[in-house]
């Protein structure tokens, strides 16, 4: 992300003219808990740091660490909700938000977060996740049932067409809810969801994909049999990397196990940690399945009246 000199100046001015140094440091520690302003500026610990010096140094450091978006979100939160029991009016915020939006983001007031604009390029980190850092994310894994048999049975063109169709509505349903496709291979894929209601969004995407697939099989699928998938959703911590093969994550292993070990054709399987977050309406879609280990998973599939 290329930060303009104008944006850098606006942030420095906003901090210097709106906040005492102590609060600037507080906000910085929200996004970088180990931040030490004295160490960064070289001022002796017993000497007060002038506002403008603190603001300049913090701005430079935040940008260098790739934490700008998180930092601006924290500034907006302080402006709207205060910090340590006091309210602060931070100047120049509208101009700062405008500059960030010019970089390809839009600000969602309800969630207090920046998103990559829906009409722009969608990166797998939403433009804000940093490689090597841990994040709580929700993952959806999808797997084509009997992939090997299908590939043997039908010619390449038909298989390519069917799998491209599946990828198309998988991508549509995931990105519609601000999820990101992290991986798509011949026989399935992986999507990630971020932000507050990530579990609900992942589950709704999974249900939508099963409904879309139902209609696809009725009207469009060129195979002699219906195309079937298994879908699973799980949530948990994951260290981010742009190279998915580098990611060592128990959460990713679990979602993969949910789909391959417990998933059924045309079913969406979710873990208890996802289920507990669904709310009173959506949880009614699922029924609990007891595993041999006495643990539970929850499953949904489309059922019809007789």
């Amino acid at each position: 992300m290329k930060i303009s000199a104008r944006l850098q100046r606006l942030i420095t001015e906003a901090l210097a003219h709106s906040l005492p140094v102590q609060i600037m440091v507080r906000i910085t520690k929200i996004v970088d808990p180990d931040y030490d302003l004295y160490e960064r500026t070289g001022f002796p610990a017993n000497m007060p740091i002038p506002n403008i010096s603190a603001a300049r140094q913090i701005t430079i450091d935040i940008i260098a660490q790739g934490l700008l978006i998180d930092f601006i979100e924290a500034m907006i939160d302080v402006h709207e909700n205060g910090i340590m029991g006091k309210t602060y009016h931070i100047r120049l915020l509208p101009q700062i938000i405008k500059e960030i939006e010019a970089l390809g983001y839009s600000y969602n007031h309800d969630e207090g977060t920046f998103f990559e604009k829906s009409d722009g390029l969608k990166t797998m980190n939403w433009g804000i996740l940093l490689p090597g850092k841990m994040y709580d994310l929700t993952f959806m894994s999808i797997d084509i049932v009997n992939n090997t048999q299908l590939v043997r049975k039908y010619n390449k063109e038909i298989i390519a067409e069917v799998y491209a169709d599946l990828k198309e509505f998988f991508t549509r349903e995931v990105e519609k809810r601000n999820g990101r496709i992290w991986n798509w291979e011949g026989d399935g894929g992986l999507a990630a969801f971020n932000y507050d209601d990530k579990n609900v969004k992942a589950v709704l995407s999974g249900i939508d994909i099963l409904l879309d697939l139902f209609l696809y099989n009725l009207f469009k699928c060129p195979l002699k049999e219906p195309l079937q998938v298994r879908i699973a959703v799980h949530t948990g911590p994951c260290q981010f990397s742009f190279n998915i093969r580098e990611i060592q994550s128990e959460t990713l292993r679990t979602v993969s196990e949910l789909v391959t070990k417990y998933g059924l054709p045309d079913h969406l399987t979710i873990s208890p940690s996802v289920y507990s977050d669904l709310g009173s309406k959506l949880e009614l879609f699922f029924k609990p399945i007891t595993l041999k280990s006495s643990n539970f998973v929850y499953q949904y599939h489309v059922e019809w009246e007789d």
Partner: protein, 306 residues
């Protein structure tokens, strides 16, 4: 001519959808003939004459009051029973007894009845107000209206109803439909008919299929909503304004089906529109009987696993 056991007779008659004229030879039924005649009297579309070679019937008037349409005894049978007599009886039945509106034959006639359809190939752009066309007509209305009026404040209810209206409008528009009449809890959507197929049936099918997603993602109602849909194919003079003054048999029919016949939470189609439904979804419909002389089919609904 039947002289079979009652059970066999019942089985034999069940293959006819009616109306059917049968002659029962009492000499073949021993003492059970009264029961057999009682059984026949209860069957719709079955009309019976009685042949009594041994003159077992003591009171012929009672037979007639019981439902018999002809009676011959002794030697009359050999002399009188022939094509000429059967034609006379048939003419009598046609004139005075058969309620064609209750027969399966009539259902087929209605279904096949070639109303002069007035299709419009180019959709809405070809439609001129004040001119008669054929439309797929969709009635849709929320159930439990009184309960909602009691339960929610006016402002909240109106907002929730508006969200529901938008759900119907958005999905109808995607299939070439236009919200033509709306009054708080429901209304009428018109789809121009192109003489080949009716997209309206697929539209209704999708509204039912994705209903639960609407409940979770969009609906302002805290509970799962329930609505009825009825679909019919018919002619009407199209008017953009003063829709309340349109006099149309088709509109009357759809209102009657939607208001008087449809059960909460279900989708119904008349045979006329079902004939033009997309083939892949036809197996998701089953007969729901007749209403106002018109065969009606009901959609098998998707259900959630509670």
């Amino acid at each position: 001519m039947f002289s079979l056991p009652t059970s066999e007779l019942r089985k034999g008659l069940s293959q006819y959808s009616g109306p059917v004229l049968v002659y029962i030879d009492l000499s073949g039924f021993s003492a059970s003939w009264e029961k057999t005649l009682a059984m026949l009297s209860k069957r719709q579309h079955i009309y019976y004459g009685v042949l009594d070679p041994k003159k077992q019937v003591k009171n012929v008037m009672e037979l007639v009051f019981g439902g018999a349409v002809d009676y011959l005894c002794g030697t009359q049978i050999a002399h009188e029973l022939g094509i000429k007599r059967i034609k006379k009886i048939t003419a009598y039945l046609k004139k005075y007894r058969i309620d064609y509106s209750q027969t399966a034959d009539h259902e087929k006639k209605i279904a096949a009845k070639s109303i002069e359809y007035i299709p419009v190939a180019g959709g809405w752009q070809d439609i001129v107000p004040g001119t008669e066309y054929t439309f797929s007509i969709m009635f849709v209305e929320l159930d439990d209206q009184q309960e909602m009026e009691k339960k929610y404040g006016k402002k909240n209810l109106e907002s929730a109803l508006e969200v529901f209206r938008r759900y119907i409008e958005r999905n109808s528009t995607a299939f070439g439909g236009r919200l033509w009449m709306w009054s708080r809890f429901g209304g009428i959507v018109l789809f121009p008919f192109n003489a080949e197929d009716s997209t309206a049936v697929l539209c209704g099918f999708r509204l039912m299929l994705y209903k639960f997603m609407h409940d979770v993602e969009e609906s302002f109602f805290p509970h799962f909503i329930s609505f009825r849909i009825a679909l019919h194919l018919g002619n009407m003079k199209y008017q953009e304004n003063n829709t309340g003054e349109v006099i149309s048999d088709s509109i009357n029919s759809i209102f009657h089906i939607g208001k008087k016949f449809a059960e909460p939470g279900n989708l119904y189609v008349t045979q006329e529109i079902f004939n033009y439904a997309p083939a892949p979804i036809k197996s998701y419909f089953k007969s729901a009987g007749t209403f106002e002389s018109r065969p009606i089919l009901k959609m098998r609904r998707p259900i959630i696993e509670t």
